[in-house]
Symmetry: C2
Subunit: 320 residues, 2 copies
């Protein structure tokens, strides 16, 4: 009989600590894991963000590999630091799991975290592991402003061009596929398992003088809505300027659903959206709309081709 | 029929965010909650630590109020920053809970967090809330070294005096009481619900030139064991120097158990233990032993009155 080694057999506490301990650290980290706290240098001010991923709420083990989940936990968090125009430096992870979880799952999870952390340019400096009824992952990333003012949500001004970089609608299309038992198109399914965050582009936007920025985690309209509300001006999106990815169109055709809904309201892609003085939008970013002058459209809301949007604006994970 | 408002009725997402938003911030915090990340100033290097508290593993709702749990979540985390000799600055919380949790529980939890954060001198700058099968709380604290080198676990040298500040054995005695359905002595039960962390004493120790420091979360012998191992020298504890608190003695008498076990091996009190050059131990700290010269006792272990300890050395929460 083949048996699986569980984390409670290995000792769940030593397991993750041991894995974290072996990860490479950047030079900014002067004391890594293994003490009461890790120590690292910060250039400028510190920027912090935290996100929790819970099994069956944010991921499903039958849909995602352990590596996918580890990568996603890093990606969705670093994305917030990018959206401030800051540079990620250090990351800590709180990991809870049932004692009967296969030790190999935890190992692959940490390998996924490590791979994505390297891609994102952040060091995993510590963690806490504990028992719990389901897998629950809390990641906190600390970044540095490094000589730039943080790019907030409330800085958009009338006349700004609204631009995005990264994928839109792919993760939502992938969720529809997975929910129906499909595993392709691969790009959409992969995006649901772990988004392709446009690392370093938040910094590029800050250096280009972005006035406001956010990461698209809840849906383009919902997240631009935060910029509109907090800045006090309406935003108008031009749908003809939206690049709808091939695989999103394919899923739309196969399911008879309108792919534009996923692009405008689908969450979890973690693209970046920002507003810029016209003519200063960085290379690689796509202009998709503009910030309207006050009074042109009453509320500081987000319009689609000049009209209020009648459908879903955002996203609440697959639980609801 | 009296009805209870649940967090899913209020909207679990807005609830905690709204509560975090209203908390006072120190001047170091230049951007509080409500954006992709919070921004704050760091004096010197940053020190980070994370801890996860899971319902039925680290606390029980029938034993602790929501406020107790909120206070404990802050206390156990700040304690790690203190143990590095650093100054806590900012804290973020990841909060998961079932949708049917009473909204009042979440409110009281946040009020407890806020009260303890104020006591600890740290600002709650952000959070993430999500659904989950049980209450799970991940707190990350970021501190600053502010001109002092961090005090690590590996700096103890032969001849050092080993000293402690804070409570020892109270939380373990309180756990025995709660497990038997008792609610007094109050001091022990309260310590199990939320430890009394000796805030600012980690910094006092650093300023006094402490060579090594740790917070006593797993048990005095287990935690001093980390200092011994990582420094490479044995430590000898003198039991006659240990102040056993009155209520710990009382619980010992009432249960027929030896209170010394709780003092030496009981966890969750979050006292601080550090080693100092003789004569430099700060006021308020109690000298309880010394670091032995190499070779005096083979392994870098912790002895009790010169002898190996035959009983439990540490603590693994009430689950096991």
């Amino acid at each position: 009989m083949a048996t699986t080694t569980t984390i409670s057999q290995v000792g769940e506490f030593p397991l993750i600590s041991a894995l974290v301990k072996d990860l490479p650290m950047s030079r900014a980290v002067t004391l890594g894991p293994g003490d009461d706290g890790a120590v690292f240098q910060i250039d400028g001010s510190a920027v912090v963000s935290t996100d929790v991923l819970v099994e069956e709420v944010h991921f499903r083990r039958r849909w995602s590999t352990a590596s996918d989940v580890g990568r996603k936990a890093v990606a969705v968090n670093v994305s917030d630091i990018e959206a401030m125009g800051a540079v990620p430096v250090a990351l800590v992870v709180g990991f809870s799991a049932p004692g009967d979880l296969a030790a190999s799952w935890a190992q692959e999870f940490m390998a996924g975290m490590a791979a994505e952390a390297e891609k994102a340019g952040v060091s995993v400096v510590g963690g806490d592991t504990t028992a719990g009824p389901v897998i629950s992952i809390a990641v906190t990333v600390i970044g540095q402003t490094a000589g730039m003012a943080p790019v907030r949500r409330d800085g958009a001004v009338p006349g700004d061009e609204v631009a995005v970089i990264g994928q839109l609608g792919l993760a939502a299309a992938g969720l529809v596929l997975l929910g129906r038992g499909f595993r392709s198109p691969r790009a959409a399914v992969s995006a649901q398992r772990c988004p392709e965050v446009p690392y370093r582009q938040g910094r590029v936007a800050a250096e280009a003088g972005a006035h406001a920025m956010i990461d698209v985690s809840d849906g383009l309209l919902a997240d631009l809505g935060h910029i509109a509300e907090q800045s006090g001006f309406a935003i108008d999106i031009t749908t003809s300027s939206l690049d709808i990815e091939e695989s999103v169109r394919t899923v739309g055709m196969a399911t008879g659903m309108d792919p534009l809904n996923w692009v405008l309201a689908g969450g979890e892609d973690h693209a970046l959206a920002a507003t810029f003085t016209p003519g200063t939008v960085p290379q690689g970013w796509t202009v998709i709309g503009r910030v309207l002058p006050p009074g042109e459209m009453g509320d500081p809301t987000v319009l689609v081709d000049g009209q209020p949007w009648q459908h879903e604006r955002g996203w609440t994970h697959f639980q609801s």
